[in-house]
Symmetry: C2
Subunit: 244 residues, 2 copies
């Protein structure tokens, strides 16, 4: 039991580090994508979204420091998979960047929320607070809807783009889970009632056969969690006039 | 007298629009330059500076709306000169971006402050509030100083860079003054005790000869104001270990 607790503790630090890095990168990406914004008003709106991400980053960063963890070391392990996610989903247009900000950050947020549910109350509250999509839904949905009204062919292209975003998110989430056994164990504990043998060995990270068995379990766990997120993902697509 | 007041009114809107656009662009540039940051901690610090610029932009934007001015129309006339300033001073390294954030925004801020001194009290207060270099000085100065300590040759190169920043700022400020006669008149009123003939004609913007005479006056006015800003500019350079 105390072993489980220690593992959850490392899992919480991992979750906060992952989230802090995710928010910092989302801040930079939103600010960068604003170059694509067609008007000064939409540039400003994207700057608002970016600033909201910065505030989230700052809170998570400060919480890590409060827990006597060097925030940058907690964030560092997640730079490779998150940078890869952004590199593979570079928006080529203003509308793609909007859909990414809403769909990509939306499903990632739901995913983080699921993990947070398994943490202590203070972590839950902090994570929930920093996942608030402050005004994003209305802004993005109305922009995308009116673009589709003008050019209906966009609906199909943007729906495809949304599917690609989810596919890449799933793939990076699996990569994170396989790199961070404590986080995977935390994840797994929400899906299974008892930790599997594979997870326990993965935490040691010694035997190759066990590690790949653990990775298969992580893949299954992550996929199962993503499947659970379908409902709100579909709602976001519908708000924009896109199909699943 | 009432004519002067109306002119000052348009000048104030111009100042707020200029500042709002300057802050929005500074936000985007700081966020973009963070790609150059060597560590996760310095990326985070630059994100903090960028977020502070966003908060300033938001306040100026909301003040324009409060004055029943469409904020984007007030900002729009300044996009060309400010975008030109950034295009001509694209930092090629992390240190150049730091010096730009400190020296460039510093002298621009002093300049805006000088204009604000000539406005109503509420505008003065708002402009002063949004010019606070929250923590920038310490952060930038310490980074630049320690880089120079490691590689003394940097001092000369960065001093040159700082001179170029000021030269480009002066040139863009003159361009702004020549495009916005009301703002130039406001500027001029701080330097001269009575408005010159040239300024009055420039506000009409009808006769070519008068316009170029007014531009010459603007050039002189702007240069004189820049000369007045030397003291704090020199202090910023010294804080970084650079020479004028």
């Amino acid at each position: 039991m105390s072993g489980d607790f220690a593992e959850a503790g490392r899992g919480v630090i991992d979750l906060l580090g992952l989230l802090a890095y995710a928010r910092l990168v989302a801040f930079f990406r939103l600010a960068g994508d604003a170059e694509l914004a067609p008007t000064l008003a939409s540039k400003g709106a994207l700057a608002d979204l970016a600033a909201a991400e910065h505030a989230n980053y700052r809170r998570l960063h400060d919480r890590l420091a409060e827990l006597d963890v060097q925030p940058e070391s907690a964030m560092e392990p997640f730079s490779v998979p998150l940078d890869a996610w952004h590199a593979r989903t570079e928006p080529q247009s203003w509308l793609e960047s909007l859909v990414k900000a809403y769909v990509g950050d939306g499903i990632a947020g739901d995913f983080y929320g699921k993990i947070a549910d398994l943490c202590d109350e203070q972590t839950q509250e902090l994570v929930r607070d920093t996942l608030v999509e402050s005004g994003r839904a209305e802004f993005v949905a109305s922009q995308v809807r009116s673009a589709i009204a003008e050019d209906p062919a966009l609906a199909g292209r943007l729906s495809l783009w949304a599917r690609r975003l989810v596919g890449e998110a799933l793939s990076q989430a699996q990569s994170v889970a396989s790199r961070r056994p404590e986080l995977a164990a935390l994840l797994g504990s929400g899906v299974r009632s008892v930790a599997s043998e594979a997870d326990t060995h993965a935490a040691d990270g010694t035997e190759d056969a066990d590690v790949s068995e653990a990775q298969a379990a992580d893949l299954a766990t992550v996929s199962r969690i993503f499947a659970d997120l379908t409902e709100s993902h579909t709602a976001r697509l519908e708000a924009m006039g896109l199909s699943t």
